[in-house]
């Protein structure tokens, strides 16, 4: 059974002047148990809508979304129990401390403070997060530290499917490396399946078993990084292109254009 399976999922949004924007156009993909699948795409390509559809925050117009064989549209509560999400924005109560936010997040998943506290200590120790800083308001922590707490919060509910929506965007290089290392540890230690949306080519190449390229709501290709490179190689006999070159060949976007600020669909 696949951890995640999407079959021809479609989603359109009506904008103010009656204009219809197709955010997802017949998207099909699957994530195997314990697999890390990356989705590369420029801003506005539909990555965030894809994550919102899987996390039951947006209802698809058509198609099927299954998490471990359970239909996410007709049984959202069952699916919500088995997954968690970390997005580019740190969704925290900024005045509350990391510990208070973590305890609150755990309770929403039915985990009591007594059950959560030892887990929190263990996770914080593993990521090298000083215990005394856990009592400081979130707004006093750096973006990198906030993202680590976001990952810790997700891990606390023991999800079998993790949705990571640009978890390292906007982080300084050091924090980015720390968060990426944390994702690697989650993968190794917790047997979670992970869908990682990013526009960081290096991150996708280093962390993912398979990488998909998404543009204008469509997934152009989804395979192992090496296979992807071969598919878009301009000179099949020459040295393999980098993932950046592959991305440019597939989408027509440069890395800078892909990560430029814009409306994310």
């Amino acid at each position: 059974m696949k951890a995640l399976e999407l079959q021809r999922v479609e989603k359109s949004f009506k904008k103010r002047r009656g204009e219809v924007v197709k955010a997802l156009d017949a998207v099909s993909l699957s994530v195997g148990k314990g697999e890390v699948v990356g989705i590369l795409g420029p801003n506005g390509s539909g990555k965030s809508t894809l994550v919102r559809v899987i996390s039951t925050l947006v209802t698809p117009d058509a198609g099927r979304v299954e998490v471990f064989g359970v239909d996410a549209v007709s049984h959202p509560k069952k699916v919500q129990r088995s997954m968690n999400r970390v997005s580019v924005e740190a969704s925290f109560f900024k005045k509350l401390s990391a510990m208070e936010n973590l305890l609150y997040g755990a309770k929403l998943y039915g985990v009591t403070s007594r059950e959560a506290r030892p887990l929190i200590q263990e996770i914080l120790d593993n990521i090298g997060f000083a215990r005394k800083r856990a009592t400081e308001p979130m707004e006093h922590l750096s973006r990198g530290m906030q993202q680590k707490i976001a990952l810790a919060r997700a891990l606390l509910t023991s999800p079998v499917l993790m949705l990571l929506d640009e978890p390292t965007t906007g982080l300084d290089p050091r924090s980015k490396k720390d968060v990426q290392a944390f994702i690697r540890r989650i993968r190794e230690a917790h047997d979670s399946s992970i869908l990682l949306c990013t526009h960081d080519m290096q991150e996708a190449e280093e962390l993912c078993d398979r990488v998909g390229i998404m543009v204008d709501g469509r997934i152009l290709a989804l395979e192992e990084p090496e296979g992807l490179k071969r598919r878009y190689a301009s000179d099949p006999g020459g040295p393999p292109p980098t993932l950046e070159e592959t991305f440019m060949a597939a989408t027509g976007y440069s890395v800078e254009e892909a990560s430029a600020e814009g409306d994310e669909g």
Partner: protein
């Protein structure tokens, strides 16, 4: 490794209710200075309204000043409590959106009933503490007409009214889901209409007929009638029943209606993509 599924569903939901209550308590602690400022404002506001009763006599009115001051104070305190309850519930969505936590909360497996129950429970406890402090200060300052007061009866009316007002607040909470930009403003209009028609500082009888018609569907109207009857006239349970039964009906209607409407609003927001943190 997964913790929650080992528990029965009802227990997980109870843990989540406590999560909402505890989170709001943590937030109250963090914003303590604001809470103190608000408490001072509410208390001074109640005192100023009570002094209107003394002022009527000073400008030549012939009224029972003690009675009028107590009448106004009860109105001020009750409105403070009930409007706070309504605001907390109706701001459930816009508050989460402002904090940036709306998506995290709405993708969690705890049910919406649990979410709204947790919000309502904390608002009731918080409101009772705040109102008790304000009442205590005013009790020391004013010579109130509470000799015949039936406090237990007043609390009963308040408890029944709290339930129906939670339902009323849940209906209003759906507005920011339908329109992230204007929804909350509409709920403020609902709140101000309740203040106007429910007889907070005057009898409903003095209002034009069409306003009196609106007053009949406001739980605040019956809460005020019942509480004033209990505190000012010492009315017993049989006399209070006149105010309690409409509140019971409203509770039975508004709470399920509110949850149903909220469910429809959430479904619409998920279809149109309006559940985003930025709206």
């Amino acid at each position: 490794m997964h913790n929650a599924p080992n528990k029965p569903l009802w227990l997980s939901e109870m843990v989540a209710v406590w999560g909402y209550v505890q989170r709001n308590y943590f937030l109250t602690k963090r914003y303590l200075m604001w809470e103190v400022v608000w408490l001072v404002y509410v208390t001074i506001n109640a005192m100023a309204i009570t002094f209107i009763g003394a002022g009527v006599e000073a400008v030549g009115g012939t009224v029972d000043t003690r009675f009028l001051m107590t009448y106004l104070l009860v109105g001020a305190l009750l409105w403070n409590y009930l409007s706070m309850l309504f605001d907390v519930l109706s701001e459930t969505v816009s508050w989460e959106r402002w904090e940036g936590t709306i998506e995290y909360t709405f993708m969690s497996p705890s049910s919406r009933v649990t979410h709204l129950l947790g919000m309502g429970l904390y608002a009731v406890v918080y409101g009772i503490v705040q109102t008790a402090i304000t009442l205590g200060v005013c009790y020391l300052l004013f010579d109130l007409d509470l000799a015949a007061a039936n406090y237990a009866g007043a609390l009963l009316v308040l408890a029944v009214c709290s339930v129906s007002l939670v339902g009323f607040g849940i209906v209003a909470a759906v507005l920011p889901l339908l329109s992230p930009e204007k929804g909350q403003q509409v709920s403020y209009i609902v709140s101000s209409v309740l203040l106007l028609v429910s007889g907070v500082y005057y009898e409903v009888d003095v209002l034009p007929g069409w306003m009196q018609a609106i007053a009949t569907v406001s739980p605040v109207t019956y809460a005020l009638q019942g509480t004033r009857a209990a505190l000012l006239d010492g009315a017993g349970l049989s006399a209070l029943w006149e105010s309690i039964w409409p509140l019971l009906i409203m509770g039975v209607v508004f709470v399920p209606l509110g949850i149903f409407v909220f469910h429809l609003g959430e479904r619409y927001a998920k279809k149109t993509g309006k559940l985003k943190r930025s709206g």
